[in-house]
């Protein structure tokens, strides 16, 4: 647990979406714990993870919501899209059906997040080259056509996992810097922390944070 309240200057909110069994929770676990969790039980509703990273010398706390992939949970998981600064959209390179569903995930992401939300496409399980069912090229083309960042990664080996999370943060940070992301806008998914070490209950002062949940 991070000790001081202000050992970071921003909070970015992420959401991880994609079909069941593509490895969303394992990616999160690999990113936050640097470990592969082989026996990861399926996610119910949403689960939360957090890690502090550094981008351009700024400490950024990522608050990551890992969502359940099953259709039945969408009513619940949809409420987490709003207020996400970054969306990691995951498919499994060994299962074409998970790739084919991307357009539906993308529609959700586009409709439910704000226009500035950075969407990053991750083709997971790239360690299983022998079982590959989706080529890098076609996924790359899909990503380009839809303006998505894209990498193939492996939650098992850790390959490109850091990069995916960090590149998303860099892009968000860049959007802040060039003014295209308005920090004051509701549901920007970004909170700026004043550098003064005063007031531990900053979240109280951030009414825009309220949208995290539908209940």
């Amino acid at each position: 647990m991070a000790a001081g309240p202000y050992n970071y200057s921003y909070i970015f909110k992420y959401i991880i979406i994609g079909d069941m069994g593509v490895g969303k929770s394992c990616l999160l676990h690999q990113f936050t714990e640097k470990k592969f969790m082989a026996d990861c039980p399926h996610t119910i509703g949403v689960e939360f993870g957090t890690r502090i990273i550094e981008v351009s010398g700024q400490k950024i706390k990522l608050q990551i919501w890992d969502t359940a992939g099953q259709e039945r949970f969408r009513a619940v998981t949809r409420s987490y899209y709003r207020g996400a600064a970054g969306a990691l959209m995951v498919y499994d390179i060994t299962r074409r059906s998970t790739y084919n569903h991307l357009s539906s995930w993308l529609t959700d992401a586009r409709n439910l997040t704000n226009p500035n939300t950075v969407i990053f496409l991750i083709g997971n399980k790239c360690d299983l080259e022998a079982q590959r069912d989706v080529t890098y090229e076609e996924a790359k083309q899909f990503a380009d056509e839809n303006g998505l960042l894209f990498l193939e990664a492996s939650a098992k080996t850790g390959e490109n996992v850091e990069e995916a999370f960090l590149d998303t943060a860099r892009k968000i940070y860049q959007n802040i810097q060039d003014g295209s992301l308005d920090l004051n806008a509701a549901e920007s998914g970004v909170q700026h922390k004043p550098s003064s070490p005063r007031g531990t209950q900053l979240s109280n002062d951030q009414p825009t944070n309220k949208e995290g949940c539908a209940c």
Binding site: P41, I44, F48, R72, F73, A75
Partner: protein, 551 residues
């Protein structure tokens, strides 16, 4: 938590609870008549007395029961007006739903709440299908009083009304703030000793039982097993009596039979049992023959694939469940259930619910603790045993799910409503904790969704879930309404840790990884005791509210 003392007193607690639970066990109430409060229907004057005085009226349990029955009668008109047909179904729903449906004349005061608390697509659009088997059971329940403890919670739950009128606000939250009507809550909660009153220790004190050494514990366990076996032996098992006996836990040896009886799977009549089991097992395997081949058809292939992906991820840390023969049992049970219940279909979490049944029914065939010890199913069990276990799991799972099916239908209205009810409940019984969670933007749905969807199985070790289910099976609406109270008690169990966490991250991570790994029966018993106290406190509240409205 000031429960350390209580924990050491736990051996009596379960016993005491069993007694407290059993309304017809009059000696307990009689014996404690001066101390154990009854509910007075004409209780409004109590409010004036509440501050510094316990209810003077000496009430036996019979008085209490009579009075509450009266209270129920008053409110019944309203419900009956809505139609008998609805009645049995509504009792399937969490109490708060119940309210929404029955007290439609109060809707005017509710819409904002329902809007803010449920997503648009979760407006209680309740499935109209009625699963076979639930009607009998449920209409029985519907005739019991006190079926809607949550009703009152919703009805008068605007924060403005609930400023505790009489109590020191912190840190003794668990009072029923608008408690003008609850004489017993006065007694239970208005004598806060230190911090939160501790029902188990109070109970055991009241019972005046002080034997807690292991020997007497074992003796009592033995005596309990004997009594339970007498119930089981028939010729007609008294199910109500059995429920009272096992509310505080079923002895391991008797558990398979007791669970099947309390699931209304095994008939009360001893002579019919073996025939019935045979018939049901045959029926199940007819389903398998009939439906299982369809798993590759386009209509069902998606369901099948989901189940197939989930099974290896079910109980991943217990080697037993990595065995192929057992995974195949799960796949069949879940697939057959799913396609026979298209309104919900297979929802992740249901797979977990097979496990307690499986482990318990397996224990009929082995003395090993299959959770912790290596057990090779294909070597130690013959085909017939495996088939029996499988069929029994299917039927008992079906019975369980009949009572909570709206947890798994579209948009999961049952869960949404229970999470809201949990929020309202905690707001009332532990305002500081509730305020702390709110202040840090922690939403109940963020952590309690899973508590409802998986019946706390992700939060508790399997052995604790099994103990919990002893009580759920013995409680009316154990897996639905009572579970809500258990969740409230469970959350409050962590209040100290939670209040210490000063940020959203800390709270969420703690709530997602509650340290229950070393929990055993004692800890579960404490939670159950508190849950029972809450249920007791809030039961019948709607009637009092209605009276207030009417007069």
């Amino acid at each position: 938590m000031n429960d350390s003392g209580a924990r050491s007193a736990m051996p009596q607690v379960s016993e005491g609870l069993g007694r407290a639970m059993s309304p017809q066990r009059r000696p307990f109430w009689k014996r404690n008549a001066p101390k154990v409060p009854g509910r007075s229907v004409q209780a409004s004057p109590v409010r004036e007395n509440l501050k510094d005085q316990k209810p003077r009226k000496t009430l036996s349990f019979q008085d209490f029961e009579d009075n509450t029955s009266d209270a129920w009668d008053d409110a019944e008109d309203e419900i009956i007006a809505l139609s008998e047909a609805k009645l049995s179904f509504e009792n399937l729903l969490p109490a708060s739903v119940n309210h929404g449906k029955t007290a439609s004349n109060h809707q005017a005061s509710l819409p904002q709440r329902s809007k803010e608390t449920t997503a648009e697509n979760t407006v209680p659009d309740f499935p109209s299908q009625s699963s076979p088997g639930k009607s009998d059971e449920m209409s029985n329940i519907s005739r019991q009083k006190g079926v809607g403890p949550g009703v009152g919670i919703r009805q008068q739950s605007t924060p403005e009304d609930v400023t505790p009128p009489v109590l020191p606000p912190v840190p003794t939250p668990p009072t029923f703030p608008t408690s003008e009507d609850t004489a017993e809550s006065g007694d239970w909660t208005l004598t806060p000793s230190e911090g939160r009153p501790n029902p188990p220790s109070r109970l055991s004190r009241q019972l005046g039982r002080a034997c807690s050494d292991d020997k007497s514990l074992t003796e009592r366990e033995g005596a309990k097993l004997k009594k339970v076996n007498e119930f089981i032996a028939g010729p007609n098992t008294d199910l109500d009596g059995l429920k009272k006996m096992v509310w505080s836990g079923v002895p391991r040896e008797a558990r398979p039979t007791v669970w099947k009886l309390l699931s209304n799977y095994l008939p009360a009549n001893v002579e019919r049992r073996s025939m019935m089991l045979e018939r049901k097992r045959e029926e199940y395997f007819r389903f398998v023959d009939q439906y299982y081949p369809s798993r590759t058809q386009e209509l069902h292939v998606e369901t099948w694939r989901q189940i197939h992906i989930d099974i290896p991820r079910t109980n991943p840390l217990i080697p037993l469940f990595q065995q192929k023969v057992i995974q195949e049992i799960y796949e069949r049970v879940l697939f057959i259930w799913a396609i026979r219940h298209p309104a919900s279909g297979y929802v992740q979490g249901i797979n977990d619910l097979v496990t307690p049944f499986f482990v318990v029914f397996l224990s009929e065939y082995t003395d090993l603790d299959v959770i912790t010890e290596d057990f090779d199913a294909s070597q130690n069990l013959d085909e017939k045993a495996l088939c029996s276990i499988e069929a029994d799991c299917f039927w008992c799972l079906s019975k369980l799910l009949d009572g909570i099916q709206d947890n798994y239908t579209f948009a999961q209205p049952g869960i949404q409503l229970k999470v809201n009810a949990l929020r309202e409940l905690v707001k009332r019984i532990d305002a500081p904790l509730h305020a702390h969670l709110e202040a840090h933007m922690v939403e109940y749905l963020q952590f309690a969704f899973r508590w409802m969807n998986n019946l706390l199985m992700r939060e508790l070790p399997l052995r604790c879930t099994i103990r919990l289910w002893d009580t759920y099976l013995a409680e009316p609406q154990g897996f639905s309404t009572f579970h809500l109270y258990v969740c409230a008690a469970f959350l409050i169990r962590w209040r100290k840790d939670l209040l210490r966490k000063g940020d959203f991250q800390g709270l969420m991570l703690h709530l997602q990884n509650l340290p229950t790994i070393h929990w055993g029966d004692d800890e579960v018993n404490l939670i159950l005791a508190e849950a029972y106290r809450l249920k007791y406190m809030f039961a019948d509240a709607p009637n009092h509210l209605n009276q207030k409205k009417n007069t």
